[in-house]
């Protein structure tokens, strides 16, 4: 990653999309988030629609920042990690404020990564960092393209290192200009967010 280019960017929010193999990948990224992080982190991890999600239980005790399941109309709090709840799409609205929807499935998924990324691209424009991690379908490819189109920063986990390569590969095919990074590099990038902000 080019530190100089990155330091010139103001990142107001991070969106992450993950499916198969995503929990392991998030296990490396989220506990490493710095305690002084200001940007909110909004995550769609594909999960079963018919039962409560364990994601908050898994990650909250391991993270320096608060980890919550998103509620409708909740103002986006700085430095907070939000997971989309099962069977609802998560979107970002004016405010910025979280919004949920029960609209139809997208790529057989609710929550869908595309829905989150597209609404976040509307809301944060060039000040958004979008990250596609491991997964076995092509949800997120259109969403990452929207992030890139709005001038945001598009990052894809290196498919060669991902547990399931379909999702990062599909995102790269759609957005060739996305930065391809190892999980470790993405972790360092998230860390640098705060450092470069403070600088």
């Amino acid at each position: 990653m080019n530190d100089v280019a990155f330091a010139q960017r103001r990142i107001d929010a991070v969106v992450i999309g993950a499916s198969a193999g995503g929990i392991e990948a998030l296990g490396l990224l989220l506990p490493a988030l710095p305690a002084q992080l200001r940007a909110p982190v909004l995550i769609v991890q594909h999960i079963p629609r018919d039962r409560p999600s364990l994601l908050v239980d898994i990650f909250a005790p391991r993270c320096a920042r608060p980890v919550r399941e998103a509620d409708d109309k909740e103002p986006v709090a700085p430095g907070t990690v939000y997971f989309a709840p099962p069977d609802y799409h998560l979107l970002v609205d004016r405010g910025p404020q979280l919004a949920l929807s029960a609209d139809e499935l997208v790529h057989f998924s609710r929550p869908s990564i595309d829905v989150l990324f597209e609404s976040a691209a509307d809301a944060y424009g060039a000040h958004l960092l979008g990250i596609i991690l491991s997964g076995a379908n092509d949800d997120g490819a259109a969403g990452l393209a929207a992030v890139h189109r709005a001038g945001g920063m598009a990052v894809v986990q290196d498919p060669r290192g991902a547990q399931a390569e379909t999702m990062p590969a599909a995102a790269l095919q759609r957005t060739a200009a996305a930065l391809v990074m190892s999980l470790e590099a993405i972790r360092d990038l998230l860390h640098a967010l705060e450092r470069d902000h403070a600088a």
Binding site: R10, D72, K73, V76, V92, G95, L100, S101, A102, D103
Partner: protein, 291 residues
């Protein structure tokens, strides 16, 4: 000094840089819809509306919302399909079985004390929740003395709801939900399967009135003991949510019950104080004394 400017900038979250032209076009389109067709989407939550309108652009082969507005104003036959795009919600019978279990366990015992019952299902879309509640009330021996008002703003959705016909491939999911809701019997007692579809029982429909009603522009039409309005409020902005909740509060009898969607909350509402929690996780509330 630069550091201070940076800090100030970081502490005030910026107003989202939404595409200004799209926002102008959206506002004009919603005004046009309101003026010509009297449907008021102006206080709907922006994020979902933006997404639905973008999908509608593809469906109607329009490049911009201005173009869509032009066609809508001059080709009224385009409005019903657009209304479907903007409002239709596909739900399941007994979606969120725990909600219906909570109604059975926490609300039905109170409903039994009334000689006659009125229930309002607001935003019933294609009727899945209506039949769920009718079946639940039949199972609890209450349907015979109940009138259910099922309302929606979309006349096509109301027709589908009234027909009560669902694709057979959805029925196994409905059946499982029904079982998990604590039902004493089998869902198959309430529908007839034919030609790949399930037709819900006419004797349920005798107790249901389907009618056109808008939470954005209409007022209260009856006093009811229970309002169920699920996954409708998430599509409204806070002002419109408050309007809708105000209608529910007014429609509910003394100590009446309100059920909302599993991710909806009264927390941010002007009416939060008027309700107490009955089943917190399942989003069942009860109007406070005097509220």
């Amino acid at each position: 000094m630069d550091a201070e400017v940076n800090r100030a900038a970081a502490e005030t979250p910026p107003e989202p840089p939404l595409d200004p032209v799209f926002e102008i076009e959206m506002q004009l389109l919603l005004d046009a819809i309101y003026l010509k067709y009297h449907y008021d989407f102006r206080a709907y939550a922006g994020a979902s509306l933006r997404r639905r309108l973008r999908t509608a652009l593809e469906r109607f082969a329009c490049r911009t919302l201005s173009q869509l507005q032009d066609r809508l104003l001059h080709q009224p036959e385009l409005f019903p399909p657009l209304l479907d795009y903007l409002t239709v919600q596909v739900s399941d019978l007994f979606r969120d079985p725990a909600y219906f279990r909570a109604l059975r366990e926490r609300v039905v015992p109170h409903l039994r004390t009334y000689p006659s019952l009125k229930v309002w299902i607001a935003g019933c879309s294609s009727g899945e929740e209506v039949y769920s509640l009718a079946i639940l009330l039949r199972e609890e021996g209450l349907l015979e003395r109940t009138l259910i008002y099922a309302t929606d703003i979309n006349p096509q959705a109301l027709q589908r709801a009234e027909a009560g016909v669902y694709e057979m491939d959805r029925v196994p999911g409905f059946t499982e939900n029904h079982r998990l809701s604590g039902a004493p019997g089998s869902l198959s007692d309430y529908y007839t399967a034919a030609y790949g579809r399930a037709l819900f029982d006419r004797s349920l429909k005798k107790h249901i009135v389907f009618c056109d009603h808008s939470l954005a522009t209409d007022s209260v039409f009856a006093e009811v003991q229970l309002v169920s309005c699920r996954n409708v409020l998430i599509y409204f902005n806070r002002e419109l949510q408050d309007r809708a909740l105000g209608l529910f509060r007014e429609a509910l009898c003394r100590r009446g019950f309100l059920g909302i969607g599993s991710r909806e909350s009264l927390r941010f509402s002007a009416h939060a104080e008027a309700f107490e929690e009955v089943a917190r996780e399942d989003r069942v509330f009860r109007k406070r004394e005097g509220a």
